[in-house]
């Protein structure tokens, strides 16, 4: 894995661009992630092309676009999970709380402790419900049983699943339904109190009822967390997000607050996509 960092000189111009974007939103939201001129290659195929995008604190940002547009890749770049694929190269910068996370010296483990992730398919560990939640705190050195108990309860409550599982904490997580598993995964993510939560099509494997529950949960979570959600489902993006970014073929076509994007898209391609002309 190699990270190609572009020259520092470019940074100023990029900041300027981002500021301009801020202005268009006319809100004084704090920015958690600043993506500036991000390019990403899988070996020789370019998957992301000079992306510039801010992620705001305690808001839900939805990333939409047709399959293969690079939305998942972008999401996974935010916690550098994209590096698990061999032959990934990047250029540009992504600053998280003013630090460039694409910098070689940035510790990925630290980043991922602050930036949690929920995956497309519910992926609890093949362990008990309790152990699933306690795993994160444990690997970060919290061993006190009492504290762990508290964290487990708090996280499960936070993900609105406590009442469903409180009597079966010692049971294998795979005894839960798909929707419960996904909320368990969200609870697992909450256990280390991240700053940002990345969600990669978190409801695509769930039935409508479970989807609704997860969506309600996301609404609750944004009080405390900044959320970036990749979704295939435009209605979902419209329902739950504050900001929406539309990606097409690795390019950011349009980014604005969700209402504007869905009511008066500026770009013809955005309009075509949200009206269902392709994708």
């Amino acid at each position: 894995m190699s990270l190609v960092i572009e020259k520092k000189g470019k940074d100023k111009q990029m900041n300027h661009n981002a500021d301009r974007m801020n202005d268009t939103n006319k809100e004084n939201n704090k920015v958690v992630f600043h993506t500036q001129d991000l390019n990403l290659w899988y070996n020789s195929t370019q998957a992301l092309k000079s992306i510039n995008l801010p992620i705001y604190e305690k808001k839900v940002t939805a990333i939409i676009g047709p399959s293969g547009c690079g939305k998942s890749t972008y999401l996974k770049t935010l916690n550098r999970m994209v590096e698990l694929v061999q032959g990934v190269k990047t250029s540009g910068t992504i600053t998280y709380r003013y630090k460039n996370i694409l910098d070689r010296s940035f510790k990925v483990e630290e980043l991922r402790t602050n930036v949690g992730m929920v995956f497309q398919k519910p992926n609890p560990f093949p362990k008990s419900i309790y152990e699933n939640i306690a795993y994160g705190p444990k690997i970060h050195g919290i061993k006190n049983k009492k504290i762990l108990d508290q964290i487990v309860e708090k996280s499960l409550r936070g993900a609105y699943i406590w009442d469903e599982v409180k009597d079966r904490l010692k049971e294998n997580a795979y005894g839960l339904s798909g929707g419960q598993q996904q909320r368990l995964c969200i609870a697992r993510c909450l256990a280390i109190e991240p700053d940002v939560i990345l969600m990669d099509e978190p409801t695509s494997a769930l039935d409508p009822k479970s989807t609704l529950k997860v969506e309600e949960l996301i609404q609750e979570l944004k009080k405390d967390y900044s959320i970036v959600i990749v979704t295939h489902n435009m209605q979902q993006a419209a329902r739950i997000s504050d900001y929406t970014a539309f990606l097409l073929n690795g390019e950011l076509v349009e980014f604005s607050d969700t209402n504007t994007l869905f009511s008066t898209p500026k770009d013809k391609r955005t309009e075509d996509y949200i009206t269902g002309r392709f994708g």
Binding site: E109, I142, I147, D163, A191, I192, E220
Partner: protein, 318 residues
């Protein structure tokens, strides 16, 4: 849903703060992270060392042997008399015994193995296959020493009833038993090859009105041929390296003969005889052990490489 969700703020743990506090111990973890791959590499190198150990041991001692016995005499000599006053070290009787016992074994294991594979892959119902396969695995799990006992105390006496001239120790009986031992291996590898022929090919032929038999011989076996051949080669390699069955049931006669009713010695049986006889270290007979083992090693290595080459090179693309 929400009513139950009020988190008691007083009991709330500040996970963030705890995590910050634990950050320092992370440095220790980081050192471990760096050290572990190197440690695992060392472990992984043990298997490489094993190979090096085998090759170096065999080559150096074989070299020592060839200081005493010429290469030509060793590989062309038909007389093997290691214990005589004027010892002779021709390996041909051993190679002869090895090849003959392997041929007998393959004559048994080849046809039966492939027929078993055809039955399991093309004819048997799922239920029958689920019963038969584990039983064949059982056959494969029987230790070779038990097969040796079986050859010596059961198959040989039985064969002597049928073939009057058969000696008490002979190459025929262990050859047959070795074949039985190899059946599961050939059956299971060939069956894998046949099962991986896509169903579409089967259905295509069946839809034209072919019988299962015709499908098997005209479609399945040709398509799975590389897998079948490589299973044969592996079977031969197994037969060449097999030790206890031939040691027990074929005796230690070092005659250079093609008469399968007689006792013959294989390379493996020679190694057992010599090493069991407490050959004094440094004697020519002691070094002959390594020269024979080297030959055996090269034989099986070549077979294994051929088997891998065939199954890789001619892998059918479906």
């Amino acid at each position: 849903m929400k009513a139950n969700n009020h988190v008691n703020t007083e009991s709330t743990v500040q996970v963030r703060k705890l995590l910050e506090k634990n950050k320092n111990s992370k440095n220790l973890l980081a050192i471990g992270e760096k050290f572990i791959p190197k440690f695992l590499l060392l472990i992984a190198l043990v298997s490489v060392l094993t190979t090096i150990g085998i090759v170096v041991t065999l080559v150096t001692e074989t070299f020592e042997f060839f200081q005493r016995v010429s290469v030509a005499e060793f590989f062309t000599g038909t007389i093997l008399k290691p214990l005589s006053q004027n010892p002779e070290f021709g390996i041909l009787p051993l190679i002869n015994g090895t090849i003959i016992s392997s041929i007998i074994a393959m004559l048994v294991a080849g046809p039966i193995g492939i027929m078993t594979a055809v039955y399991l892959s093309e004819y048997a119902t799922d239920r029958v296959r689920r019963i038969l396969k584990p039983m064949l695995e059982l056959l494969a799990g029987i230790p070779t020493i038990v097969y040796g006992f079986f050859a010596f105390t059961f198959v040989t006496p039985l064969l002597r009833e049928i073939i009057p001239g058969l000696e008490a120790t002979n190459i025929l009986s262990p050859g047959i038993v070795m074949g039985i031992m190899i059946i599961p291996m050939i059956a299971s590898l060939s069956e894998d090859a046949m099962s991986s022929v896509p169903n579409a090919m089967r259905e295509g032929a069946l839809a034209l009105g072919a019988t299962k038999l015709e499908v098997t011989f005209r479609v399945i076996i040709p398509a799975a041929l590389s897998g079948i051949i490589s299973s044969f080669v592996l079977g031969i390699s197994r037969a060449i390296g097999e030790t206890m069955i031939v040691t027990i049931a074929s005796g230690s006669s070092k005659n250079f003969t093609f008469d399968i009713t007689q006792s013959m010695q294989t390379m493996t049986a020679y190694i057992v005889e010599v090493s069991g006889g407490d050959a004094p270290a440094g004697s020519t007979i002691y070094y002959s052990l390594y020269a024979v083992a080297m030959t055996l090693f090269v034989f099986t290595l070549i077979m294994n490489i051929i088997a891998r080459y065939i199954s890789k090179r001619f892998k059918e693309e479906y």
